[in-house]
């Protein structure tokens, strides 16, 4: 076991002191400020909903969201600059939340993604104005029955669900805590905090509301189902170790715990508790990252949810969930890596292959991107499995690169529309390159990044994770990864062929001219994609410095 402990210390820093048994509450507000700012803004948003007149709400909410997210991001930067990402990394809030490199890095990404996603949420030029008022892509009034009188009235009244902004802020708040959670309870609570708003957001599409609602139901039921598993896993781990703090469990697993009372000695002997508990918690997280076989919600939800939400969800959820997964595997279960690595190998391989293969026959852009996200989850898992510092930093880098490509891609999807709203069927995209070369070219850039073509961020990310995997002794994973990349390339290219080399259909969709909001979102996506592709060193450095977990 001492061997395991020494390996363990490779990627964790010892906390300054072990938490006491019943400590007096002590909260480091400054270090938790990113989360607090976002949640505060969310609460303010609720108040705005309650007290501001309808006309003013949109602008107030948008301002509040942007300011809140920007301020939180500034706080993250300040914390990182203050050394909390490296030498001052420690566990705050009574051992509940870690403030360390990976946490700050991922929080930064989540905040940026949230900020950019907020722009797409706020886009009001794509939908035709209702009753003279510009409207966004969210239901006029979510509670109304689709196709009913109430809905029609709500639309005529030009109502808008401005609640999406605070709801999104809540989700971001949860996502900030999720990768930083340093005990299992916080993990669970954070999971619910970001999941529940997402369920709601999924149901809020303005067009095709039946699909939207269906996706919400599915997401909700399956999400709740999975979190029940996660919670049961937490219970078992608690039963095994007598504690839910990561460090505590890690010590018990690693056999370095100092005081062993008789009860603990009893449960410690029962490895089944540990293994089953660990597996169930893992499953809960794999559900969120969309790994096979827990992926089946992904295509349905991605397709049904309003596209801005899909973009946000696809990017941010993945970042947060992989952050939590990394922390769990590297901080809590490193002593068990001989048990979980083979299993994770299998999951990664299956995920890469299934994602890539099933995507081949998809006919809907959003579903296609959903399967693509599954395949990418597999690639990232390959980096997660490396169990080296390089593995951590490569995953961090990949997440950063991937999330902006995803956001940008879904933002482009919002632009291609016909009378029925967004035209997501692939046949409708035929000849897009002829009619709107710029939009098609931008989408092509995103697709190429997904495909991992050099000089895009996708390549740098893929190279980073595969490199880490190879160095971590997972060469077969690299081979499978490469093969599934080849399969994946096929369907990305299919879309490009469709856009550029097919004759445009006469009654095909048009490309709406977006406001600067969406344009900014897309531009940021392209910029990050190219920047991280051509000159990734700075960000690799950043990820490398952030690659150490605190314990």
């Amino acid at each position: 076991m001492s061997h395991a402990a020494s390996v363990h210390s490779l990627w964790t820093l010892a906390a300054a002191e072990a938490p006491k048994k019943i400590p007096a509450p002590h909260i480091e507000y400054a270090q938790l400020s990113p989360t607090l700012i976002v949640l505060g803004a969310a609460v303010l948003g609720v108040l705005v909903e309650a007290f501001l007149p309808r006309r003013a709400r949109y602008h107030a909410q948008l301002l509040l969201t942007v300011v809140g997210l920007a301020a939180a991001f500034a706080a993250v930067v300040a914390l990182a600059a203050g050394g909390y990402g490296s030498d001052k990394a420690h566990v705050a809030a009574m051992g509940a939340v870690a403030v360390d490199g990976p946490a700050l890095f991922l929080q930064g990404i989540v905040l940026l993604v949230g900020l950019v996603a907020a722009f797409t949420f706020a886009e009001r030029r794509l939908e035709p104005a209702a009753n003279g008022r510009p409207v966004d892509s969210f239901a006029a009034q979510a509670a109304t029955v689709p196709g009913g009188d109430a809905e029609r009235k709500a639309v005529m009244a030009g109502l808008a669900t401005t609640e999406v902004f605070p709801v999104m802020l809540f989700a971001v708040g949860g996502m900030l805590v999720f990768p930083a959670a340093n005990d299992l309870l916080t993990l669970f609570v954070a999971l619910e905090v970001f999941s529940l708003p997402l369920y709601v957001l999924c149901a809020l599409a303005r067009r095709q509301r039946l699909l939207s609602q269906e996706s919400a139901v599915k997401y909700f039921l399956l999400g709740a189902f999975s979190s029940a598993f996660l919670l049961f896993g937490v219970a078992l781990l608690y039963g095994y170790a007598g504690t839910v703090t990561y460090s505590g469990i890690a010590e018990v697993v690693g056999g370095t715990t100092r005081t062993v009372d008789p009860a603990l000695a009893g449960t410690m002997g029962n490895d089944a508790l540990l293994l089953i508990g660990g597996a169930l918690v893992l499953m809960g997280l794999l559900f969120k990252v969309g790994a096979v076989p827990f992926h089946m919600w992904t295509p349905d939800v991605y397709q049904g949810a309003p596209t801005p939400v899909t973009g946000f969800m696809a990017a941010a959820t993945k970042v947060a969930a992989f952050g939590a997964l990394l922390r769990l595997l590297y901080v809590v279960l490193p002593g068990l890596r001989w048990d979980w690595r083979p299993v994770m190998w299998a999951v990664a391989i299956v995920t890469m292959l299934v994602g890539a293969i099933v995507a081949v026959t998809q006919t809907d852009v959003k579903r296609l991107l959903a399967y693509s996200s599954i395949a990418h989850a597999g690639f990232i898992l390959a980096g997660v499995i490396a169990t080296t510092p390089d593995g951590i930093s490569s995953v961090l880098f990949y997440l950063g690169a991937y999330s902006f490509v995803t956001l940008g891609a879904f933002a482009v999807v919002t632009l291609v529309r016909d009378a029925g709203g967004e035209a997501t069927h692939l046949t409708q995209w035929a000849g897009l390159g002829r009619r709107s070369p710029l939009v098609a070219a931008v989408f092509a850039v995103f697709l190429l990044a997904f495909a991992g073509i050099p000089l895009t961020s996708g390549f740098a990310g893929k190279f980073a994770v595969f490199k880490a995997a190879a160095q971590g002794g997972a060469a077969p994973l690299v081979i499978v990864g490469v093969l599934s990349s080849a399969i994946a390339a096929f369907f990305y290219i299919r879309v490009i062929v469709l856009m550029f080399f097919s004759e445009p259909r006469t009654e095909g969709p048009t490309v709406a001219v977006p406001s600067p909001l969406t344009s900014t979102a897309i531009a940021v996506g392209v910029a990050v994609t190219v920047l991280l592709g051509v000159a990734p060193q700075y960000f690799l450095d950043l990820a490398g410095q952030a690659g150490t977990f605190v314990r």
């Binding site: 139901v217 599915k218 039921l221 399956l222 189902f225 999975s226 598993f229 490895d271 089944a272 293994l275 089953i276 660990g278 597996a279 169930l280 893992l282 499953m283 559900f287 096979v292 076989p293 827990f294 089946m296 919600w297 295509p299 349905d300 001989w338 048990d339 979980w340 083979p342 299993v343 299998a346 999951v347 299934v354 293969i357 099933v358 995507a359 081949v360 026959t361 998809q362 399969i487 096929f490």
Partner: protein
């Protein structure tokens, strides 16, 4: 002096360049430019010859390296020239006959709108042929070798609008390419054996190399010679090559290019001397071809094709002689030169006849032309007498020597070869007499041409008759001149060496035998064609005749084995490429697609089945984790 050698090649090359790139404005002057440059190269050749005569036998060889051509590692190919007596002989023959034929072409091609190109190609041919004979290494020789092939290709197919001409040209090039493979391999073998392929070191070092290597080199050189010199089994192209304009047939496919194989073998004498097996192969090829060509020549009604068969046969004699080693080299070359004269003359005569007969080539539609075309008749007749070996004329001296040398080979081999050569002489007399009678004697069997125009035979213009007359002089006197004091033998000896064989029969006996078979041949032909009227359409004939008309079925064999087989092969490969090679890839893609379609159905839209998948996944995850621990 050395620099002149380069000039020799450069002058006609320049002509080719100027004429081919010159554009329309040169159209009218082209024939004269071409002829002038050919004559100029002849003058240069003559100057060189004079210079050579001015030196002693051993010092006559000139050599010069112009520049380093392909230097890669140990592989050093230079552009360098070597002019010795052997090369000189060829230079004079090529430029001399070449100039005459240029001159002839002025008249012959006077009405062809593309004559600028024609003369360009002819000049190109001269340049390549000269390069072939003055190169000082095998690789440069190879350049000339392929260069004449190219010129031959272009000229055979000169009337490209005729599909038959285009096909014949392609065939000639392809068959020659097969021979070229031999030459390439020979050069490679030389490089691996000697580390070089320059004549000097290779030939000097030949005796130090193993016999196996030499035999291999010899055999592939023979392959090369077979291709270029239309020897069995690569002879099939020569008959078809008669699709080209007649001056081309005279120059390239009778006098010069087709003898390149003889040059190659003679030049590589040192190699063959060390490889008796290869020599046996050479004489065998020569003997077979001399009969083959002669037999084919008997059956053809097309005057040019009959002459082509004859060319094949005569080159067979030369190859046979060359295969005999030092006994025969000089005679091979001597026959080559005399053959150059009389065969070119015969072809030019044939061209003249065709010129007067609306381009009719079928001898069965000639007859009685002697009075209409007296000059042609006389020159052709002299050529005829020369080729059948009428005493005193060129062919008599050279062919006789070869037959003698064949007997001198000794043993059974000598008897067989000598007998074959004699038999060949008889057949030669037969088919040449046949040509002569059918063309110039008997009644007129003229037929109107395709346009319904009856022929008005007439003598050809001066530009055509002059070369014929000059060549006739050569046909008559060259042989005697060469044999005077063994002049030719002594001239060539420093290069080829000479050895006397031990003939079981005396020279007089051989000559007597030759006379007898000659008489028999002529008599047979006269009996068949001179006495009885000749039908305009050929009778069916027996099996042998029919086979001989079809080049002894060689083309049919080629067609079935190579063409048909090749077509099948390529067609099945195209199919294979499409179905198997591409099919594997497309199949993989399709199976991924199929798998995708099947897996896609798992995503059936029912939340509960998703939950089942999750539950199952969780169960597997837990089980696997536990199992890992258990294992």
């Amino acid at each position: 002096m050395e620099n002149l050698i380069g000039l020799l090649v450069l002058v006609p090359l320049l002509g080719a360049g100027v004429l081919l790139c010159g554009g329309r404005r040169l159209d009218s002057s082209a024939p004269w430019i071409g002829t002038l440059l050919a004559a100029l190269s002849f003058v240069i050749g003559a100057v060189l010859f004079a210079g050579m005569l001015g030196r002693d036998g051993e010092d006559r060889e000139l050599g010069t390296t112009v520049f380093s051509w392909v230097p890669v590692g140990d592989f050093r190919a230079d552009v360098g020239f070597q002019l010795d007596q052997l090369s000189m002989t060829f230079v004079l023959l090529i430029t001399g006959v070449g100039s005459l034929i240029h001159l002839y072409s002025i008249g012959y091609m006077a009405h062809d709108e593309r004559r600028r190109r024609f003369f360009g190609y002819l000049n190109l041919f001269l340049a390549a042929m000269l390069l072939l004979v003055v190169a000082d290494n095998y690789l440069l020789l190879y350049v000339g070798w392929e260069g004449v092939g190219l010129a031959s290709y272009l000229l055979i197919g000169f009337w490209q609008h005729k599909p038959s001409a285009a096909t014949a040209a392609k065939k000639a090039f392809l068959v020659n390419r097969v021979g070229d493979v031999g030459l390439s391999i020979a050069i490679m073998l030389m490089f691996t054996t000697f580390g070089t392929f320059a004549f000097g070191p290779v030939l000097e070092g030949a005796d130090r190399a193993g016999e196996g290597k030499l035999t291999a080199i010899g055999l592939v050189l023979l392959l090369a010679a077979c291709g270029k010199s239309a020897q069995v089994p690569l002879q099939s192209w020569l008959g078809d090559a008669m699709e080209g304009p007649t001056p081309v047939s005279a120059l390239i496919h009778a006098a010069t290019m087709v003898t390149a194989g003889v040059y190659l073998i003679t030049r590589s004498g040192a190699i063959f001397d060390g490889a008796p097996d290869a020599q046996t192969a050479v004489v065998t090829v020569g003997a077979v071809t001399l009969l083959f060509g002669a037999i084919v020549g008997c059956a053809k009604d097309d005057i040019k094709k009959a002459l082509a068969g004859s060319t094949m046969s005569q080159i067979g004699y030369m190859i046979l002689a060359a295969g005999l080693g030092p006994i025969g080299y000089a005679f091979a070359i001597m026959h080559l030169v005399t053959h150059g004269f009389f065969k070119a003359g015969l072809f030019l005569g044939a061209g003249s006849v065709m010129h007067g007969m609306n381009d009719e080539v079928d001898m069965r539609r000639y007859g009685g032309l002697r009075s209409y075309m007296p000059v042609t008749f006389v020159t052709f007749g002299l050529g005829y007498l020369a080729i059948i070996g009428f005493p005193g004329l060129s062919g008599f001296f050279s062919k006789d020597k070869i037959i003698e040398a064949a007997f001198a080979k000794g043993g059974t081999e000598g008897w067989i070869l000598g007998g074959t050569a004699l038999l060949g002489a008889a057949i030669t007399a037969y088919y040449m007499t046949r040509v002569m009678i059918l063309t110039f004697f008997g009644e007129k069997r003229w037929q109107p041409d395709a346009a319904g125009e009856p022929p008005h035979p007439h003598e050809s213009p001066r530009t055509m008759t002059v070369p014929m007359i000059v060549l006739a002089f050569g046909s008559v006197f060259a042989g005697g001149l060469f044999s005077l004091n063994d002049a030719f033998l002594n001239w060539l000896e420093p290069v080829t060496g000479h050895a006397e064989g031990h003939s079981p029969v005396t020279a007089v006996q051989v000559t007597a035998a030759t006379m007898v078979v000659l008489f028999v041949g002529v008599a047979l032909a006269w009996a068949q064609y001179g006495r009885a009227p000749v039908p305009v359409t050929a009778p069916r004939g027996n099996v042998l005749v029919r086979a001989a008309r079809r080049d002894l079925l060689q083309d049919d064999v080629n067609h079935i084995v190579l063409v048909r087989g090749g077509e099948h092969l390529t067609r099945s490969l195209v199919y294979l490429d499409h179905t198997v090679v591409d099919g594997v890839v497309n199949g993989t893609a399709a199976s991924v697609g199929g798998l995708s379609g099947r897996m896609r159905r798992l995503q059936n839209g029912f939340a509960r089945s998703y939950a089942v998948s999750m539950f199952g996944g969780a169960a597997v995850l837990v089980a696997a984790t536990l199992l890992m621990r258990a294992v």
